[in-house]
C-alpha cells in the first residue's frame, strides 16, 4: 500500500506544498491513497496532466471518483445521489451528454462576444472603484473589488438579478468550503437549485436579453436542465475570477516590481494575466478523472476504475514546461498553463475571465497608484480551507 496522501498544507502562501514539489522532482505520476482507502494516483507533471485531461478513456462523472482528502465536501462530490446534482450540471458529465450541453453554450462565450462585453466590464469596474474610493481606506479589497466585478458581470450575462445575490453567494460559500458539514452542503445546493429553478420559471413568463432567456427560447433544454446549467455557470462565474482578482492583487502587492510592470506598461497586461493564472493556480485540489479502461500514461498503467488527481499548482510550475518556473514574471509568455484545464472540459468561461482580469487589474492599479496592504502579508487569511484557493480578505489602503 502506498503511504502517500494528498499534501494540502502550504509552507508559503503562493507556492504549492513543498512535498508535492519534491514529488515532481522524482517523477510525474505517483501512487496515492485516497480518503476512502482507494489506491489511485497523483499527477505532478505538465505533460502527463495534459495526457490525462485530453484522453477519452477518463471519466469526469462523480460516481467514478474517490475523495482525495477527508472532507464532507469531497466525500459528497463523489456521491451524486446524496448531493442531488441538478441534471444540467454538465461539468460532471462525459460525452455524449456533456457534448450536447457544451455545444449549446460555446457560441455564447466566444472570443468575439467577450470583446463585445468589454465596455460593460469597464463600466462595472469603474463603478466598483468609485465605490471603493468613496468608502475610503482601509477597505477589504475582496468585498469592494474582487468579488463584485465578476459577480455583476456573470449576473448580467446570465440574467440573474444582482439584488438577489445574498442567498446564492452564501450558498456558494458553503458549497466551496472544505469544512462544511454534509447536511449544510446538501441544503446549500438545494437552495441554490431552487433559486435557479424559480428564476427559470420567471424568465419563461418574462424573457430578457440574457443567456438564460436565450437558452429557454432555444427550446432544447428542460427546466431541470436549465437549472443545472444556471447553477454551474453562476457558481463558476463567481468563485473563480473573484479569487484570481483577490489573490492576484495580493501577489502583486507583495511583488512590487511585478506590480509596477502591470500598472505602467499596457503591453505587459495580456502576458501578466496568463502568468498570474499560471503562478497562482487557484484550482488547488484537482481536477480529478477516473479511468474507464486501462490506460498507459508515460509508461505507467492506470487501471480501469482508478482515480487520478492532477495537482495543477505543481503542474503549472513544471520546469520541463516553463523556464524558471518558480518565479513570478509578468513579462513572460505563460501560455500553455493548465489553470483552465485541458481537453473537453476546458473552462467555458475562460475568455470572459481573461477579459475581466485584463480590465480590472490595470484599472485598480492606476486608480490607486499608492495601493498597499493595510496589514502584514502574514496576516492575510488564505483560503486553504476552500476548494478554490485565494484570500478570504485583503485589507488594503492607499
Amino acid at each position: 500500500m502506498s503511504e502517500l496522501t494528498l499534501p494540502t498544507a502550504r509552507q508559503r502562501p503562493l507556492d504549492p506544498p513543498d512535498e508535492v514539489t519534491a514529488l515532481r522532482q522524482q517523477g510525474t505520476i505517483h501512487r496515492m491513497t485516497y480518503a476512502d482507502g482507494h489506491q489511485g494516483w497523483l499527477v505532478t507533471g505538465h505533460a502527463a496532466a495534459r495526457a490525462v485531461l485530453a484522453s477519452p478513456y477518463f471519466s469526469n462523472r462523480p460516481e467514478h471518483m474517490h475523495p482525495p482528502i477527508p472532507s464532507a465536501r469531497m466525500e459528497l462530490a463523489t456521491q451524486p445521489e446524496k448531493l442531488r446534482v441538478p441534471p444540467g450540471f454538465f461539468l460532471r458529465m462525459d460525452p455524449p451528454d456533456h457534448t450536447r450541453f457544451r455545444r449549446l453554450l460555446t457560441g455564447q462565450f466566444t472570443v468575439r462576444r467577450m470583446k463585445m462585453l468589454e465596455p460593460r466590464i469597464e463600466e462595472i469596474t469603474g463603478a466598483c472603484l468609485d465605490a471603493m474610493e468613496a468608502a475610503g481606506p482601509p477597505v477589504d479589497l475582496v468585498q469592494e473589488f474582487a468579488l463584485p466585478i465578476p459577480s455583476l458581470v456573470i449576473c448580467e450575462l446570465l440574467g440573474v438579478p444582482y439584488g438577489e445575490r445574498a442567498q446564492f453567494q452564501a450558498d456558494t460559500k458553503v458549497l466551496a468550503s472544505l469544512e462544511s458539514k454534509a447536511d449544510d452542503a446538501i441544503a446549500a445546493l438545494g437552495s441554490i437549485s431552487a433559486y435557479l429553478y424559480g428564476l427559470v420559471q420567471r424568465k419563461r413568463k418574462e424573457p430578457g436579453d440574457d443567456l438564460l432567456s436565450g437558452l429557454i427560447e432555444s427550446g432544447e433544454l428542460s427546466d431541470e436542465d436549465l437549472t443545472g446549467v444556471g447553477v454551474l455557470l453562476l457558481i463558476a462565474g463567481h468563485e473563480t475570477t473573484a479569487n484570481m482578482l483577490g489573490l492576484g492583487t495580493y501577489a502583486l502587492l507583495t511583488n512590487p516590481d511585478q506590480l509596477a510592470a502591470m500598472r505602467d506598461d499596457p503591453s505587459v497586461v495580456d502576458n501578466g494575466v496568463e502568468e498570474l493564472l499560471r503562478h497562482l493556480t487557484i484550482i488547488h485540489l484537482g481536477p480529478m478523472r477516473s479511468a474507464l479502461e486501462d490506460v498507459e500514461i508515460e509508461g505507467v498503467t492506470i487501471k480501469a476504475g482508478e482515480t487520478v488527481s492532477i495537482h495543477l499548482p505543481a503542474v503549472n510550475r513544471d520546469p520541463a514546461r516553463f523556464d524558471d518556473a518558480e518565479r513570478l514574471d509578468v513579462t513572460r509568455p505563460a501560455g500553455g498553463h493548465l489553470t483552465f484545464g485541458h481537453g473537453i472540459h476546458q473552462c467555458l468561461g475562460q475568455q470572459l475571465a481573461r477579459a475581466e482580469m485584463r480590465i480590472a487589474y490595470p484599472a485598480l492599479l492606476r486608480r490607486f497608484p499608492g495601493l498597499r496592504l493595510a496589514v502584514t502579508p502574514e496576516e492575510v487569511p488564505m483560503r486553504s480551507d476552500m476548494s478554490i484557493y485565494g484570500v478570504h480578505r485583503l485589507p488594503v489602503t492607499w
Binding site: 457560441g107 472570443v111 483552465f340 475562460q350
Partner: protein, 63 residues
Amino acid sequence: MEIKADTTVCIGAGMCALTVPKVFDQSEDEGTVVLLQDEPPQELEEAVRRAVTLCPSGAISVS
C-alpha cells in the same frame, strides 16, 4: 503548411482565435473553429503551431 480543423471535435474554447486571430475565428452561433485561411503565410506558421498545442481538444492540426 496546411491547416485542418475538425469542428465536430472542437469545444469552442477559443484558444486558436485568441492566439492567431488572422487565421482562426469562431462561428457566431456554435462557437466552433472557423478557418480564415488554411495555408497561412510563413510568418504566422510559428503562431499557428502554438495554437495547435494550446487547443484543448485536438481539433486543429497542421501538415
